[in-house]
């Protein structure tokens, strides 16, 4: 066990995956010599050489396109989009190509690639350094979409993603790179070294994709969330002394429906939280799924708390971000209904 930040855990996952399998290659913008603008690939080039970890030209489509070609050859590329907000130029390669290659070729070819991307807000990044585009991936058959919330999961899930036989989109909420952000931006940052999920086992372990984690058990209501908001939800529940069961979904597709249903059947109430804009966000899918599967158990409407339907604003970040105040109020609303 070592206390690690999420950045360190991600670095460690890369190291281990690259050591175990020489087909694993890592590249992206500023990823090689510099080790990435968030330093998630620091040390890889030094350790494995610039044939295994290297810089790419600034062209996200070229990065993912080349990764698909490499994967078709037999490698296991793990590439970085510098920010999730900059994945759009690669969207065609991800959606039309990586996601569909196995199916359209009936298994003749496949694209086992990982596309990592720092996502989410909370760092005053403005509209192009704050987005959470997960719903744009969850709608695409053939993609596995992961959102991590802590160092322990990040390491185990990234290793699993690299080992997976199919393309995995791997979102890393940058606000929790260095600590479990509780949503109170005006309070000092708590480091991961003070948090149990910052304790990361040494060496190899993989967390199966498609399994949610019950972050906090409770019986009054179920909170379905992922990424940064796992910690915000916990804060809100603690602050208002609400016995909330908080489920960190970890993998959005395939979704761990059993864990969700079990919890909602128990609590009868459900709150769905994410940072992305609310309309057609992944929360809509969660709400629809819970409604379909737990209709007769629901004692109150499922409520969504999410980013507003506006671009992520720079100065009004904390009015946009679903913080403990908004989340806590919503919990009470769900309980009162």
């Amino acid at each position: 066990m070592t206390a690690m930040t999420m950045v360190e855990a991600i670095r460690d996952a890369h190291m281990i995956a690259m050591e175990r399998d020489d087909r694993v290659v890592v590249f992206g913008e500023d990823v090689g010599f510099f080790g990435g603008v968030f330093r998630c690939t620091q040390g890889l080039q030094e350790r494995f050489g610039d044939h295994r970890c290297f810089d790419a030209p600034i062209n996200e489509s070229a990065i993912v396109g080349a990764a698909i070609g490499m994967a078709a050859y037999g490698l296991r590329p793990c590439v970085e989009m510098q920010f999730a907000d900059y994945m759009y130029p690669a969207y065609d390669q991800i959606v039309s190509e990586a996601a569909r290659l196995r199916h359209r070729s009936a298994g003749d070819f496949s694209a086992p690639i990982v596309v990592r991307m720092p996502s989410g807000g909370g760092i005053f990044g403005g509209q192009t350094h704050s987005q959470s585009p997960e719903a744009l991936f969850t709608h695409v058959a053939g993609l596995t979409t992961v959102v991590v919330s802590n160092p322990y999961d990040a390491k185990g899930l990234l290793i699993a993603a690299i080992e997976d036989e199919d393309p995995v989109v791997f979102l890393e909420p940058k606000r929790v790179y260095n600590g479990p952000f509780d949503g109170h931006h005006d309070r000092p940052v708590v480091p991961w070294s003070k948090h149990p999920l910052g304790e990361v086992p040494d060496g190899y372990y993989a967390i199966p994709l498609g399994e949610a984690r019950v972050h906090r058990t409770g019986s009054d209501l179920t909170v379905l969330t992922y990424g940064t908001l796992v910690h915000v939800a916990e804060t809100a529940a603690n602050e208002r002394d609400i016995d909330a069961e908080i489920i960190d979904l970890r993998t959005l597709v395939p979704l761990d429906v059993d864990t969700i249903v079990e919890s909602v059947v128990k609590t009868g109430r459900c709150l769905v939280l994410h940072e992305a804009t609310v309309t057609s966000g992944f929360g809509a899918e969660l709400s629809a799924t819970v409604q379909e599967r737990c209709f007769y158990h629901l004692e109150a409407p499922i409520v969504r708390v999410a980013g507003w339907d506006t671009p992520y604003p720079h100065a009004l970040e904390w009015s946009y971000f679903p913080g403990p105040e908004r989340v806590g109020r919503a919990m009470q609303e769900v309980l009162a209904a």
């Binding site: 030209p57 396109g65 039309s96 190509e97 196995r102 003749d108 498609g210």
Partner: protein
């Protein structure tokens, strides 16, 4: 035209951007520095490949008119390029084709009946009825799965080539694109990567002068040639008579050797003409000048190779007629076999449950549930 050394400076090769590599002259003689070292048998094999493509295309168009298939795209007039390049490359190399390179499969000896099964989307379709006709996939024959989305294969080919180089392998990749699709953004993605990492890849642009209804000028813009694009990245770029089987073989071989010798990417602009419609959904009479095909200066590739073989004393009308008959019979019986396995039109297609396979390597729970609903 001069044939440059494999490692010739790009500035010198650059001059060839606006010239045209040719081997076969108007009388069918093979002349100049680019004459490839090919036996008469190899040339006859090339003729057979091209004639097979043509016969195959004709049969499939007929099948479409007969209402047996939903869609087809022929390569009429462009057969030499893919057929010759396939023979110039090696097993283990990987092509990243468009929908107009059936010649690659045929010249590689891929089973004709399998191609037809794919086109019919029948029970034996290797792609299980998932893809539009002609969007083949054949890893075993060095043929990457064709995408419906233009240009995406171009950077993928570069990535494949980079991977081969990274692993110390000598296999190379070959990327294919139409002149119209070279306007797509991913064309740039590929050239940037190929230039930066000096990937062992051939970047083919098939300039058949049309992109559906739009003449080549819209993609080319003000530059004189598509080969110019390569020069913008210091990627050696040549223009080749795409209706000249021997030139197509020689140029492909030259580019392949450059790649295999770690001399990096080569761009080839192939000059040819789309003689037919874009696809069976297209009606070119609305936009296309009459008599364009007859007026095109580069003569038919099958005719030119045949003429060359006749001039060599290796071919005559009888042998040609026999070969044509043999090929047509082969195609006809392949189609009879394929047709017996049903088709999308007859409704004899793979079972609906198969639709859920291969979305992922393993069937996840939600797809299992959905599959069960289809079964209902």
């Amino acid at each position: 035209m001069k044939k440059p050394a494999l490692d010739e400076k790009v500035e010198r090769v650059a001059l060839m951007r606006k010239q045209l590599v040719r081997v076969l002259d108007d009388d069918g003689s093979a002349v100049g520095e680019w004459v490839p070292d090919l036996s008469a048998d190899a040339k006859i094999a090339g003729l057979r490949d091209m004639m097979t493509v043509r016969s195959f295309d004709a049969r499939m168009l007929r099948a479409h008119r007969q209402g047996k298939i939903s869609f087809y795209m022929q390569a009429l007039g462009e057969e030499a390029i893919a057929c010759a390049q396939q023979r110039a490359l090696r097993p283990g190399d990987m092509h990243f084709p468009t929908y107009r390179q059936q010649g690659l499969l045929i010249a590689a000896g891929y089973p004709i009946v399998q191609m037809m099964n794919q086109i019919l989307s029948n029970e034996q379709d290797p792609l299980k009825g998932r893809q539009l006709p002609v969007l083949y996939s054949a890893k075993s024959h060095g043929f990457f799965s064709i995408s419906g989305n233009l240009a995406t294969q171009y950077p993928q080919a570069v990535g494949w080539a980079m991977a081969s180089a990274m692993r110390g392998d000598t296999a190379i990749a070959s990327a294919w694109i139409g002149e119209g699709a070279s306007a797509e953004n991913d064309f740039h993605a590929a050239l940037v990567m190929a230039s930066t990492y000096q990937a062992p890849v051939i970047l083919n642009i098939v300039n058949n002068h049309w992109a559906i209804s739009t003449p080549e000028d819209f993609a080319r813009g003000a530059s004189a040639t598509f080969a110019d694009r390569g020069y913008g990245f210091s990627i050696p770029a040549i223009r080749v008579d795409g209706n000249d089987y021997l030139a197509a073989y020689a140029a492909s071989q030259w580019a392949a050797e450059r790649a295999r010798s770690n001399l990096g990417p080569t761009l080839i602009e192939w000059i040819t003409l789309r003689r037919g419609a874009h696809s069976t959904s297209d009606d070119p009479s609305v936009y296309r000048p009459e008599h364009e095909s007859e007026q095109f200066p580069l003569a038919d590739p099958v005719e030119r190779l045949r003429q060359h073989l006749v001039a060599l004393g290796e071919w005559d009308d009888d042998r040609h007629r026999d070969l044509q008959h043999e090929i047509d019979t082969e195609i006809e019986s392949a189609f009879a076999e394929a047709d017996s396995h049903g088709s999308v039109k007859s409704g004899v297609v793979p079972s609906p449950a198969t639709m859920f396979d291969d979305v992922y390597a393993e069937l996840p729970r939600h797809l299992r549930e959905q599959r069960d609903q289809v079964g209902e």
